[in-house]
């Protein structure tokens, strides 16, 4: 794609958390209606819906999410399609919405992401279906175990420290304190990270994003429609997706090639480089993931991601604020919703509407990872 032909003109999100009293379509609807109201468009103007979710079948015994949300929203008969790419489902759904507009198929598209994860006691088992069933999950590997392998390899090869990992969690928890939609509102210390239960060495419970329910949505518009409805569009400068092997044993565990590739494609689309990005929403499903992503997107030399965090450069007042609203670690990680939650958060900052957590800058990058890096979607937004 070429940039700036599609704009985000509306954003909405539910609170993230353990929302036992809310159903999955309820959550999708709340986020979608908020985004439509925020855009100030009549519902009849929506040409198409995309919904990202990882595993509604296993989580709540309901597939066919696309038609379901069009039905509950009273928006039939427009096309409504579910996109699945594990934890990158939200980012992948966003890309399909963008392609529909670029194709001339639609002028206005609602893209939502949702997951309802806390109705089951087997979230870890369900999440493992994003890894390779034949080579990983069947052998008992959980996602935390796979990320622990990546963390250990990175520590071994580059000297990344346990303290740097903890710092990622500490910072994102602190950022989430100012985000009313975040799942976790609790400042933590590096000591508390180490005192939390060890899940898979070297990762402790507080290295892991929590299992959450929630939804987030955006309204996308063609350039022409965007001008009709808003004076403050947030432009999609780039949306790029890349894939890699599902199984970790087939690749270098200290980098995610799909992040490198999606980043390269996104930078090319936008005509920008890492130095042009003012803040980023990175996929910190685990503390190590944020460090890998900083490196693989070119924000730090390979092996130096941990140092960037340790030196405070990713703080809100730093050179490159990362996850100013708390990231996955603080906001929670309803897997299908995360890619959209990141875009909603970035758009909020670009508009200057992020309140106490506001960071400056007119160009933002969001990165959404599926599995242990087999799908990565990178989006670049600008005012």
């Amino acid at each position: 794609m070429n940039g700036d032909k599609v704009a985000v003109i509306g954003i909405g999100t539910t609170p993230f958390g353990e929302l036992w009293e809310r159903s999955l379509p309820d959550l999708f609807l709340e986020a979608g209606v908020k985004a439509i109201e925020d855009a100030g468009i009549p519902g009849e103007e929506v040409d198409e819906i995309y919904g990202g979710s990882m595993s509604t079948g296993l989580f709540i015994q309901q597939e066919h999410l696309g038609a379901l949300v069009a039905d509950r929203a009273g928006l039939t008969p427009i096309p409504s399609t579910r996109i699945e790419a594990a934890c990158a489902s939200g980012g992948a759904a966003l890309r399909q919405g963008i392609l529909s507009i670029l194709a001339g198929e639609s002028e206005i598209v609602v893209v939502g992401g949702v997951e309802k994860m806390t109705d089951t006691q087997n979230a870890a088992g369900i999440l493992a279906t994003a890894s390779d069933a034949e080579w990983e999950s069947a052998a008992g590997a959980t996602f935390t175990a796979l990320n622990a392998l990546m963390a250990r390899a990175h520590m071994h090869r580059y000297g990344t420290t346990r303290g740097q990992l903890s710092q990622v969690a500490v910072q994102n928890h602190r950022n989430a304190l100012d985000n009313p939609h975040a799942h976790l509102h609790r400042a933590i210390t590096p000591e508390e990270v180490l005192e939390s239960p060890r899940v898979a060495d070297p990762l402790h419970m507080l290295d892991c994003a929590p299992v959450s329910d929630g939804a987030a949505a955006v309204v996308l518009a063609s350039a022409e429609a965007a001008r009709r409805y808003t004076d403050t569009p947030v432009w999609v400068a780039a949306s790029a997706q890349a894939s890699d092997t599902l199984a970790l044993h087939d690749r270098d565990p200290t980098r995610m090639a799909a992040t490198v590739e999606a980043g390269k494609r996104a930078y090319a689309q936008a005509g920008l480089g890492p130095r042009d990005i003012r803040f980023a929403e990175l996929h910190d499903a685990f503390t190590i993931t944020e460090i890998l992503s900083l490196e693989d997107l070119g924000f730090a030399p390979k092996g130096q991601g941990g140092r960037l965090v340790e030196d405070g450069l990713t703080e809100r007042g730093g050179m490159l604020p990362v996850n100013p609203g708390g990231g996955l670690k603080g906001c929670g990680h309803p897997v299908g919703a995360t890619g959209l939650r990141q875009v909603v958060e970035a758009a909020r900052h670009l508009r200057g509407d992020a309140g106490r957590r506001q960071v400056p800058g007119e160009t933002a990058l969001t990165q959404n990872i599926g599995g242990s890096g087999a799908t990565v979607v990178v989006t670049i937004l600008r005012r």
Copy 2:
């Protein structure tokens, strides 16, 4: 979309059946590689992959199908995305592949559909996740039960007969005899349909498409790329999708509004009407579904679909041949694969490569239904 900007330049399908010795990625790969070989393109020319499947999570404990197939095909790092729309997943995936080309994002796209259904003993329960979990499946409604309600209502309102339903099954079984990839190779009589076990009155076992494993795939190309690789492209004249309520109680059970709407959109895109269609692949998951679809797509006046079949007009030699390769009833219905299997079959006939089951004509329509009609995708192809 406007028609004739995207072409089908390669087709491939696995045999459909109970393929216990084959894995889901194996099946996808076989169909995809056949389609790529048929197109005569090097694998490196593929820009993007889409995969349609309904419920790999519940059927085989594997989500993240997009990256998985790119991985197994050795086609990383190109984007590879799973589309889910219940039994219309294949048709919906095809549409996303078309949009990617129309958007200028890709020149050559592989779209596959796959399902591995016979590794579980709970296929009926898993299929029910395509219906409304809150209003239908939780109350015990299976898909056969929902389609039986539609059949009974149609018989009551329009006088459709039990014999007309049987005739749909008899004809599709007969057509499948000449299709080497079909799951069922067995001629049946109307008496045998009635002697088969009653599943949900008035539907008997032989009114229902079988539970199957299988995959089908196509290679799509932009007009320019198509001209580079083939002298006999099959053009996509239209691809349209529509949605309706998931639950049957919210709508008239004797018609599928999403079929009507998707058909209307497709005819408009192609600049054609029902009389211009020379043969059709209709979604006969149940015998009643083929009758409804004949009416809702304008091939018969409302209420007269059964008569069209009874009078032999949908036979291979009839006015409008329907499912000349056996349809879902004869070929089997690996749900995510069906929408692509229909397009592969239609393209084969349009090229004149369908052997003993060949029907004449340069314009074909395929219709792929999700759930009891909540998602419908209609594709029109022409030489």
